[in-house]
Subunit: 306 residues, 2 copies
């Protein structure tokens, strides 16, 4: 699904939140782990099974509130091939519930390798007469360090399969300034990446005026969000760093246009681990739902969706 489907989901649910499905083993209630270890022994398969059970309940609890989920690939890779199967199955389950699915894998490599990554997450692989979508996500995050070569192969799937990608622009972590703020001619490096992103997206602009080549812009740099929004009129922003990392709803609101379009705000731990702060292990899904509703209400104070 391209960026239009995401924008329409945000509008339908009046909520620009993407819930991060990034469960690390320590985020899982102990009873889920215990059950899985009883069945699978002390194996990665047990962690993958507990993760899948957790994700299923979280998705059931959130699917009528949030329009999108974002899976952090690292959390699944650390569980080995069984974890990758849990990622694939979580993507399928989320799509079955009508959710827009972003895989946050931050891939980036030379052209021939980028083709493989695109096939893995956004495309199809031929086997004899069959064509199989290995992970079948709607969108993928992409690291721009290798330049256009590492982006162009993904655009083929953006076009042919109506997918989207999000380029890392200004990330929300503290040390992001070491490279991203370096002064390129007339502007910092992340602005160069922003302008490349606008250019890469020019051929993929949808019905709502935004392209299917988006940009990751951390919530922790509000002035930069404003500046990027002013310069990049066609670029949709994926905004991590809300809540736990310190970004405030008031600041984030400036990433949106007057119709409440143009951005998607991620929350991972605040939703997934809400049970650790305000509930019981058994109530993890209800706690996630309550936090997602709270976040929706908070963002809704500053952004309206027409």
């Amino acid at each position: 699904m391209n960026i239009d489907a995401l924008i329409e989901g945000i509008r339908a649910k009046q909520n620009p939140t993407v819930a991060g499905l990034d469960p690390r083993p320590e985020h899982l209630p102990a009873f889920l782990l215990d059950d899985a270890i009883r069945e699978h022994g002390e194996t990665l398969a047990a962690l993958a099974a507990a993760t899948m059970r957790f994700n299923t309940a979280i998705l059931d609890a959130l699917h009528d509130i949030v329009p999108a989920v974002k899976l952090q690939s690292a959390c699944y890779e650390m569980l080995g091939p069984e974890g990758m199967a849990a990622m694939r199955d979580s993507i399928a389950y989320a799509k079955g519930l009508g959710l827009y699915v972003i895989v946050d894998a931050k891939r980036g490599d030379i052209g021939s390798t980028a083709e493989c990554y695109s096939a893995a997450f956004l495309g199809r692989v031929k086997v004899g007469g069959a064509e199989i979508a290995p992970f079948d996500a709607d969108a993928l995050t992409v690291n721009p360090y290798l330049g256009s070569d590492c982006v162009l192969p993904f655009l083929d799937d953006v076009g042919a399969n109506a997918r989207a990608i999000f380029i890392l622009g200004r990330t929300s972590n503290r040390s992001s300034s070491e490279l991203q703020l370096l002064p390129a001619p007339d502007r910092p490096l992340y602005r160069v990446v922003g302008e490349l992103t606008e250019r890469w997206g020019a051929a993929y602009i949808g019905a709502h005026g935004y392209s299917s080549v988006g940009l990751v812009v951390g919530a922790t740099q509000p002035a930069e969000i404003v500046e990027l929004r002013r310069h990049l009129r066609r670029t949709f922003f994926l905004i991590p760093g809300y809540g736990a990392q310190g970004g405030a709803a008031w600041d984030i609101a400036r990433a949106f246009d007057n119709l409440g379009r143009g951005a998607l705000v991620n929350s991972s731990r605040a939703i997934l681990c809400a049970w650790q702060k305000k509930g019981t292990p058994e109530a993890y899904a209800d706690c996630a739902r309550a936090e997602a509703l709270r976040m929706k209400e908070e963002l809704g104070r500053y952004v309206t969706f027409n």
Copy 2:
């Protein structure tokens, strides 16, 4: 294994080649695919099985010639969870043959996520009382775009588990210049990354004077190899782009010090696809061996290993 193990392998085999184990479906002899489809049907499991059979024969044919192999993660991810199992099993098989194993995954993310990537490829994951190494590689390539945050978690495994990482500095693809050559204060961006790499590696310098935090430097920019070697005395280089991408042995020789240390040269397609140029499908392993010997001989004309 840290960088010393790699350096000693290069010396023992008198060969600074790392063979890229990057088989895409079109690189596999048709009879391997046909056999696998007969057994597994037209599934990703069939592609993964054919890949594993190919890798096993290639590793058997190369293990006494080359000191190291590099697996391109994208080639396995595009085969889904079954492909990731083939990657895990290929790593284990290669290590069983005494080879040094680099996973070329170019990962890079914020600190808590980088911890997960490090656990996946270089570390261990706890399940109850067990500790399991999901992919168990010796080294991993890392993308620096997010700054120190995305590197420091890997250093814990470099130290505790004697692993190594290679930071992307100057890549071999054409569009790498779009960002990597941007002028930072007094020097281009890739030089900033090189200096950060030397700093990250300062605490991990081995018996041969090189740190276990290496740098990827494309063979297609010989003048830059020379310049980086002059500035970065403690940093070991991983050099892609030899052969197919145009880098010549004569140029690459300048990455090495007088003892023939300091660099590892990758060749992927030239070795894996040698059968397509100079042989028959059945002879793919012998053709790979012949090309690896040719490359060893060619590099040996310009570099001696004491």
